[in-house]
Structure formats: structure tokens, C-alpha cells
């Protein structure tokens, strides 16, 4: 076996740094860094403008910082931002450029937001979501390039080693690979709308190989896991409760009176993970195609979904719950040519305030 010299060297360097840090931490507390706490807002950007960004909200003082990557690195991100996650002190930003073949992944120090490394365009196309999949290991779903009729090709999951900041493997998965979730040693990869896929992929994070694919229903979108460890999807117009240990769909929960025109999206759990919130919306052809709809919620043990009383009388393109306070954060874009807003609500749907974000706020990371 031959060792890659760069790999060995960087291991040595990281060992040294870790060692130094270890020494430091025993002697004195580390100074706090600007991005140690706060709510990170993932602003998708206006696609053709390549102006995605990450902004920061101080949840208590309401202080805002816009485009923190640009503040810390002079450069701005060269594309839209599809997702951001933290893995062992590193921040991973998925950058989606409007030109095919120009996407990238920026890796920053999660505490300072200073650029650490960049995974080049040659390694990926259409990155979608990122999660931690082990120590110093991240998984990134990618759609790959589109077919000429804009249908989806089979997607893949990038395995990124954060000690070297390199892609170590590409795991082929189903079409339209989108949101993913790691529970124990399993990563569940779901799909996006219009993917026409019906399965999810389950990857063994120890071996980085597909363990199983499971039929869930038409275009299964991942919601997350609930208080009982059950994994939820939205597929074929129904909410699907999935048992990860037995790999069996336990139930499919339908709307009490399903709307023929409305569709569900922007899913999130409440703080206790006992209820699911979602946007239910449509374009009203009778009213000049105005976007209409509300945000509803249902309990994980409900047998059907009632849409008689909304939690919030507004629809958001991104919805998330602060795990510390239980407050609901909704991302709203008046247009993708002006700054969007983050609406904050108490868990019961009472409006707290609205704060400015970047262009197209859709995702949140609470720290």
C-alpha cells in the first residue's frame, strides 16, 4: 500500500493543530469567534444572478449580518447557495452557479467563516444538500447535469473527507437526489419534486455504499425524523411514516379533505418533534394567479390531516424550527430581485417579528 504524500502530510498537520488546540484548551479558554452562535440564513439567491449568500441573525439582539462569506473573504460566493451545514468545526457551503459546470463547494472555518478550501467544479454538478455523515465526513447530494429535456439523471452522493477537504467517493443514487438525513450509521437520501423517482436510498455511512433502496411512493420528499425516531416523507400527496429499523412504511396519512389545486411543501417539525408544519399553497387562476395558501400543522399520531385551521396565515418558501426556543422561522421572498424577509413566530403561530435577509431566504441553521 502506498500512502498519498499530500494526504499523509495534511494528516500530520492536522494532528499538530489538534495537538496545539488541545494544549491551548487545557490552559486557557478559547476566545469567542464571530460565528459561534446565531441563526444562519441560507439565501438561495436569484438563480441567473449568481448571488446566493449566508446571512446571520442574532436571535436575541436581532442584529443582522449580510453575506458573511463576503465580509470575511472579500469574494462573494460565485453562485446561488443550495445548502449550508457544519461538520466538526467546518462550514460547508454548496454553491450552485447558473452556468452548468461551474458549481463548487466552499469550505470555511465554521467559527470565523474564513475560507479553508474549495472543492472544484470538476467534482460535482448541481449540489443540493449537505449533512454530517461521521467524524470529519460530509455527504452531499447532487442532481448531476440535466438531460436535454430537463428531466433528471440519476444523482449521486459525494463523500467528502474534511481532513483533506477532498471528495473521496461518489455514490450513485436515484434521480433527483435531494434532502438527506443521517441516523446512526444510515443515511437516507430522498428526492425532489419533478424527479419522477419513487424510491429512497439508504447508505451505510461506515462503508459509504448503498445498503438498500426502498419504495416510498411518487417523488418522496424528506421531512425528517420525529420524537419516536420514525422518518417522515411527503410522497404522492400523502405524509408517509417510515420505520427505519424495519425499513417498512408504517402509515400513509392523507388530508381529511384534499385540495385538488393546493400542494404541500416547506416541511419542518416542531421543537418536540411531535408535529409537522407545512405550507399548503396554490396559484389562484381566478385571482390573476396570486399565490395563496397557509401554513398548517398536524400531530405525528394523527390519522388524517385537517386543514381547517392554519397555524400561520401565510406561506413560506422555507420553514424551520429553532431547536432552542421552538420559534418558527419562515423565509419569504417578495421577489428574487430584492432582499427577502425572515418571519419569526412563536410555536403557536403568534408573529414575533420580521427581519431582513439576503435574496431568497429558504434554509436555516441554528447554532
Amino acid at each position: 500500500m502506498q500512502f498519498n504524500t499530500i494526504y499523509t502530510r495534511s494528516l500530520a498537520v492536522s494532528a499538530l493543530i489538534l495537538g496545539l488546540n488541545a494544549c491551548k484548551s487545557t490552559s486557557e479558554p478559547e476566545p469567542s469567534q464571530p460565528y459561534d452562535t446565531g441563526v444562519f440564513v441560507i439565501n438561495r439567491g436569484n438563480f441567473f444572478d449568481n448571488n446566493g449568500s449566508i446571512s446571520l441573525i442574532n436571535a436575541t439582539t436581532k442584529a443582522l449580518s449580510f453575506d458573511i462569506f463576503q465580509i470575511e473573504n472579500v469574494n462573494s460566493l460565485a453562485g446561488g447557495v443550495s445548502d449550508y451545514a457544519e461538520v466538526d468545526g467546518k462550514g460547508i457551503i454548496l454553491v450552485d452557479n447558473a452556468t452548468a459546470g461551474k458549481d463548487a463547494i466552499e469550505i470555511v472555518n465554521a467559527r470565523t467563516f474564513k475560507s479553508v478550501a474549495k472543492i472544484p467544479s470538476s467534482d460535482l454538478e448541481n449540489p443540493r444538500y449537505v449533512v454530517k455523515a461521521g467524524t470529519n465526513k460530509a455527504y452531499v447530494t447532487c442532481w448531476d447535469a440535466f438531460n436535454t429535456d430537463y428531466s433528471y439523471k440519476p444523482g449521486y452522493v459525494l463523500v467528502i473527507d474534511l481532513t483533506t477537504n477532498k471528495v473521496t467517493k461518489k455514490i450513485a443514487v436515484q434521480k433527483g437526489a435531494n434532502k438527506l438525513l443521517v441516523i446512526g450509521n444510515e443515511a437516507i437520501v430522498a428526492t425532489t419534486t419533478y424527479s419522477e423517482a419513487t424510491t429512497i436510498s439508504i447508505i451505510d455511512t461506515q462503508t459509504d455504499a448503498i445498503k438498500q433502496t426502498v419504495e416510498i411512493g411518487y417523488e418522496p420528499q424528506l421531512i425528517g425524523s420525529d420524537a419516536n425516531g420514525k422518518v417522515w416523507f411527503y410522497a404522492d400527496g400523502k405524509f408517509v411514516k417510515f420505520n427505519l429499523s424495519s425499513k417498512v412504511v408504517e402509515s400513509r396519512i392523507a388530508f381529511a379533505s384534499a385540495s385538488s389545486i393546493k400542494s404541500a411543501g416547506s416541511f419542518t417539525f416542531n421543537k418536540e418533534k411531535t408535529a409537522i408544519l407545512f405550507a399548503y399553497s396554490y396559484a389562484d387562476a381566478a385571482d390573476n394567479y396570486k399565490q395563496k395558501g397557509e401554513t398548517y400543522s398536524f400531530g405525528i399520531n394523527d390519522s388524517s390531516i385537517s386543514t381547517t385551521k392554519p397555524v400561520i396565515n401565510k406561506v413560506f418558501s422555507g420553514l424551520s424550527t429553532d431547536p432552542n426556543t421552538g420559534n418558527i422561522y419562515g423565509g419569504f421572498s417578495p421577489s428574487l430581485k430584492q432582499a427577502g424577509y425572515v418571519f419569526r413566530y412563536q410555536a403557536n403561530g403568534t408573529l414575533i417579528d420580521s427581519l431582513k435577509a439576503g435574496i431568497g431566504p429558504e434554509g436555516f441553521l441554528f447554532k
Partner: protein
């Protein structure tokens, strides 16, 4: 590239180019009559634009930049802002703060803005495509018709009757990044014994921009890095002009202009490739007899957009059938400066559109215009014009657009000329076919936009000495455009007449010219201040954008040219400064930084017997300035090119 797949699918694209018939009505006095109807020799609408600023570009300047596109050329000749997606990519105009749809581009009097998108991609119009050009500032809808809200670009094909025999030209250009240009053509004049004159021009041109930049990104002096987008552009065109003139001045003409432009993004990677191909076929026939001019035209615009192997692109095709008739009455009082010109006319345009995005089938629409243009010269010093136009459509009521202009010379002597001008004009823009028919997003109830432009100007020309003269001009304007269309995100990007835009500002143009024997030198500069803002609250979030400078419109624009020439050789340096440009309605995010670019050209003539060769050596972006395109990609850095054009008289009559 990924998300908002539908916006990729519904991406609204464009087509092509243009020109115009210039006119100068001049009077011929006939003795023994107190009042005579005079013959009009040409049909330039500029004649009726009293009080408006019209900048004529001479043919020598056009020849010097013959290998450029109109986008590159106009940026340095005028304070007009352009929005470019990259080298050889979609470049749209913003004239006096208005949108790309608010500049009428006329080719021999025909509006050649794409009927689908209502605009022209100036990167697809080569300077070679026409013989003369005028840039008209401000609203001139009464003279020009729809789209002339911010200004208009008038391109014309002109016969050269003074030429003897047949001239040929053949030439090419090679430059940095493996970019090529080529052209070959003939121009002839024949006079029969009966006095019948026959003239024509045939020109074939093409270019291939490979854009081999040999880099993946460019970094400016502040450390901001912009990616380079791989792209390739191939353009070709064919021009055929024919003119037959009788001794009495009656003339029959035929103008044909065919163009084909193909742009490939990521040309070398099939799975990433994105191709836009636009073709235009334009045919115009005109007959002028006495003071009457009739025209018949046909324009076909084809647009294909696709990815990968480009086997099944999204296809759009629009045909326009145009008929126009005009008659001019021109009378002049003997021994007086009083002269009256009245032109009345009408135009009929029939559209047939087959556009994938409209949901299959073909859509037809007809539009009509009638107009009356009156110019009255009262004295040597005072001239006025009153123009009226009304457009019709079965679908909507177009605004009635009158205009009134005045020109008064305060001083007019051999050395000094000072002229004051003023114009007030209503303008309009008819909805584009995309705005009306695009599946779901289009809106059949969309109304025409309407504007009111007011402007005043002062122009001073001074002969300083026998060899030196100077000019200085100032124009101040206020242009309010209502019913401005907006693809409303709140309605799923359906188009609505939501906004109202106020564009106000001023332009200062100055020049100094020195000419002695064979030496020519000069400097000219233009500064424009453009304040263009959205005025109307249409939803709660519009508050964030009200009163803010429109996106991609620089507040300050400065262009300048300095030249020196002796004999057959000349050096020309052009500069362009644009202040920072906002990229969001509410000015959030980092704006595009201000930038300054300089181009230089050395041109000369060498004679080999009867053959003359024109040598053009060009350095663009001399300072290697880094500045971004609309998509935040890097625009090209310094580039060199060498062009050589041979011309000569082959068959002397």
C-alpha cells in the same frame, strides 16, 4: 446549474438587428411662384424631430470600427448603458435609464426589435450591417412608433450614387482568444444612356469568437474574483441592397439582410452545453414616386434554445408582414425662410407567431399606426414641429401620442451658433408577444405602457480659428413612464402593468476639433447623469424599492474619444467609465463596482496600385480592467486584434 427549472424552461430570449432610411427634405426654389410645393428627396424621420437630440455617426467612424458589434461600438460613442451577459452574449440596451424594451431599433424605417421579447440583442448587430446611423435621445414615439421611449437607434442602408463603377472589399481580422472576423462584398453603380441609375451592394460577413481565455477566473485589484464562463459565438450575415432611380428622382429599392447567430455556453462539454441560435430574415422593398413613399417588408425571426446535443431545441418563429405608405407636402415661401413640411402616413403590421412557449399553434395579431408629422420653419432662427400618432390593435387601446418641439437659434453667425431646443412628447410601448401569449405567465389583458418625456437643451458651436472649432451641448430631461410591465413574483411571475418609472437626468457633450492640411486631431466627451427610479407602491414590499436607482443603470457615465491623424494614418483612443451599478431593486447586496475601460485603434491606408488596403490594429481593454457581466462572470481582459481590408475599383465604367 439547477434550481427553478421552470425559469430555465421559460427563459425568455431574444433576436436581432436593424437600420433606417434617412431623409433630408430639402427645398428647391422655383422662380416666378410665390409658393411652391417642393420635392422631398428621402424619408428620414429625423427631419421632424425638432427639439430632440440626434447624434449622427459618420461613415468614417463606422469604417474604423467595422469589425465591432453595435454593443461595443455604442458604449464608447454615447452615454448609453448596456447590460451584458458576457463577451459575444446577450447585450441589451438601457437608454436614459429605461429598459431594453424602451429603445426602438429601426432598420430602414422598420422596427426590428424582436416581437417576442420586444428588444434587440446588440451583440448580434455588427457595425458592418448598415451604412449610416443616428442615435436619437428621448421619446420620439410620434415619429418612430412603439418602443421609442428612452430613445431610438436609426440604422440605414444608403446608395452611393457618386461612386463610379464597381468596388470590391475583402478583409479579415484575427485577434486574441482565437477570435476571427471576415467580410467580402461588392458595391456598384451603373448609369444607362437614358439616365436610369442602378446601384447596389452585396456583402457577406462572418465571425467566430472562440474566447479561449486560458483562465478560469479573473481577480480585480481589490481581490474580488469573478469566474470566466466558457462561451463561443459564431455570427454570419448577408446583405443585398439594390436601388433603381429614374431621372425624375423616382426610386425603387430592395434591402435584404439575413443574419444567423449562434452562441454556445460551455461549448466543449456536451452535457453542460447551452445553445442559443437566432436567425433573422429581413426584406424590405420601397418605391418613392414624387413625394409619396410606399414600403412593403417581411421579417422572420427564428430563435432556438436548447442544451446538450441541441437536437430538440425549444423553437420560436415569428413572421412580420409590414406595409407602409407616406406622403409629404412641402411648401416654401419665396424669398423667405418659411417652409412647411407635412407628412401623413400609415403602417400596417401583421404578426404570425409560432412559439413553443405559447403552447403550440400559431398566434396572429395585427397592429396599425397612423401619423401626421408637421414641421414649420418660421424664420431663419425658429423651427417647430408638431407630430401626432395613433396606434391601433383589436386587443387594447394604444395611447394617442402627440409631440411638440421647438428650436430657436439665439446666435447664428459664421463663428458662433447657439441654439436652444425643447420637446415634449408622449410615448408608448405596445406589449410584446411574450407578455401577451406566454403560457400561463403571459397576460392577454396587458396594456401598453405610456410615457411623457419633457426635455430642454442648449447647443453651442464655436469656430475658434480657421483650424479649430469646438462644440458644447447640454440636454436635461424628465421622462415618466406609466403602466411599466413587471413579471410579478406574487402572481407566480405573471406579467402585469404594475410599475411607474421616473427617469430624469442630463447629458453634456463637448468636442474640440483641429484640422490643418492633412492633420486632424480632436477630443470629444460625453457625461450623463441618469436618475431612474420606480415610483409606485403596488404591494407592501414595494416600499423597499421606491425611489431607488433601477438595477444595472449607472448614475454616472462618462465616455470620451481622443484622436490624431495625419494623412492616411490615425490613432484613436476611447474611454468609458460607468459608476457602480445596483443588481437588486432594494440595493441590498454588493453592487457591481464602478469601472473604467480604454480601447485604442490605429488605422491606416496603404495603396498597392489601384488596390487600397485598410489596416486596423486594435487593443481593447488596454488597462486589463476586471469587471463583471450581469451573471457576475468576468468580462474579457486586454485583447489585441489586427484587421486588414482590401478594396478597389474593379470594373470602371
Amino acid at each position: 446549474m439547477s434550481f427553478v427549472v421552470y425559469s430555465v424552461r421559460y427563459r425568455i430570449l431574444f433576436s436581432l438587428l436593424g437600420l433606417v432610411l434617412p431623409v433630408f427634405g430639402y427645398a428647391q426654389e422655383i422662380a416666378n411662384k410665390q409658393i411652391d410645393e417642393v420635392k422631398v428627396t428621402g424619408f428620414a424621420t429625423e427631419h421632424f424631430m425638432a427639439g430632440l437630440k440626434v447624434q449622427k455617426i459618420d461613415s468614417a467612424t463606422l469604417a474604423r470600427f467595422q469589425f465591432q458589434t453595435l454593443a461595443d461600438f455604442l458604449q464608447f460613442q454615447s452615454p448609453i448603458a448596456f447590460k451584458s451577459y458576457g463577451s459575444g452574449q446577450l447585450t441589451s440596451i438601457s437608454f436614459r435609464g429605461t429598459s431594453a424594451m424602451h429603445t426602438a431599433v429601426l432598420w430602414n424605417g422598420l422596427n426590428i426589435n424582436s416581437p417576442m421579447a420586444g428588444q434587440t440583442d446588440f451583440s448580434t448587430v455588427p457595425v458592418l450591417g448598415f451604412d449610416e446611423m443616428s442615435i436619437q435621445y428621448g421619446s420620439a414615439a410620434s415619429c418612430v412608433g412603439t418602443d421609442a421611449v428612452g430613445g431610438s437607434i436609426l440604422l440605414s442602408s444608403v446608395p452611393k450614387w457618386k461612386q463610379k463603377g464597381t468596388n470590391f472589399t475583402i478583409g479579415g481580422q484575427y485577434g486574441s482568444f482565437d477570435n476571427y472576423n471576415g467580410q467580402m462584398g461588392l458595391r456598384f453603380v451603373k448609369v444607362s444612356k437614358s439616365g436610369l441609375q442602378f446601384s447596389g451592394k452585396t456583402l457577406l460577413y462572418g465571425s467566430q469568437f472562440n474566447n479561449h481565455f486560458n483562465a478560469t477566473e479573473r481577480t480585480d485589484n481589490k481581490g474580488i474574483t469573478y469566474p470566466i464562463e466558457p462561451s463561443e459565438t459564431a455570427q454570419k450575415g448577408f446583405i443585398q441592397d439594390l436601388y433603381l432611380k429614374k431621372k425624375n428622382g423616382n426610386m425603387l429599392s430592395l434591402n435584404i439582410w439575413l443574419t444567423d447567430n449562434k452562441l454556445a455556453i460551455q461549448p466543449d462539454v456536451i452535457v453542460f452545453r447551452e445553445i442559443t441560435q437566432s436567425k433573422a430574415y429581413r426584406v424590405l422593398s420601397a418605391y418613392q414616386f414624387g413625394n409619396t413613399n410606399v414600403k412593403a417588408g417581411f421579417v422572420k425571426d427564428i430563435l432556438d434554445y436548447g442544451t446538450g446535443d441541441f437536437l430538440t431545441p425549444s423553437h420560436s418563429e415569428t413572421d412580420r408582414y409590414i406595409a407602409r405608405a407616406e406622403h409629404e407636402f412641402s411648401i416654401k415661401k419665396k424669398d423667405s425662410f418659411q417652409q412647411t413640411s407635412l407628412r401623413i402616413g400609415g403602417e400596417f403590421v401583421h404578426y404570425v407567431a409560432k412559439v413553443d412557449g405559447y403552447g403550440g399553434g400559431s398566434i396572429t395579431e395585427s397592429r396599425q399606426d397612423i401619423f401626421a408629422l408637421l414641421r414649420q420653419q418660421f424664420t431663419q432662427k425658429l423651427t417647430a414641429s408638431l407630430n401626432l400618432r395613433q396606434a391601433f390593435s383589436t386587443r387594447y387601446v394604444a395611447p394617442f401620442t402627440p409631440s411638440f418641439g421647438l428650436e430657436y437659434a439665439i446666435i447664428s453667425n459664421e463663428k458662433t451658433q447657439i441654439k436652444l431646443t425643447g420637446n415634449i412628447a408622449k410615448s408608448y410601448r405596445l406589449p410584446t408577444l411574450n407578455e401577451r401569449y406566454w403560457k400561463v405567465l403571459g397576460n392577454l389583458n396587458i396594456q401598453p405602457e405610456s410615457g411623457l418625456n419633457k426635455e430642454i437643451g442648449a447647443n453651442w458651436k464655436q469656430v475658434i480659428s480657421t483650424n479649430l472649432n469646438a462644440s458644447l451641448g447640454v440636454n436635461v430631461y424628465h421622462n415618466l413612464i406609466d403602466n411599466w410591465t413587471y413579471w410579478n413574483p406574487d402572481k407566480g411571475y405573471r406579467v402585469e402593468n404594475l410599475q411607474q418609472v421616473l427617469s430624469q437626468g442630463f447629458e453634456i457633450m463637448g468636442s474640440v476639433k483641429y484640422l490643418k492640411d492633412k492633420t486632424l486631431a480632436g477630443v470629444s466627451a460625453t457625461y450623463a447623469y441618469t436618475d431612474a427610479t420606480q415610483q409606485k407602491v403596488y404591494d407592501v414590499y414595494a416600499v423597499d424599492i421606491i425611489g431607488k436607482q433601477l438595477i444595472y443603470v449607472p448614475l454616472h457615465t462618462l465616455t470620451g474619444t481622443a484622436y490624431i491623424g495625419k494623412g492616411d494614418w490615425s490613432l484613436n483612443i476611447q474611454g468609458l467609465y460607468n459608476s457602480e451599478r445596483f443588481i437588486t431593486f432594494d440595493h441590498s447586496g454588493r453592487p457591481f463596482p464602478s469601472y473604467f475601460i480604454v480601447n485604442s485603434t490605429v488605422s491606416g491606408k496603404i495603396h498597392f496600385g489601384k488596390i487600397q488596403s485598410n489596416l486596423i490594429f486594435q487593443v481593447n481593454n488596454l488597462t486589463d480592467t476586471v469587471y463583471p457581466s450581469v451573471r457576475k462572470n468576468a468580462m474579457p481582459g486586454r485583447s489585441f486584434s489586427m484587421g486588414l481590408v482590401f478594396s478597389g475599383n474593379v470594373f470602371k465604367q
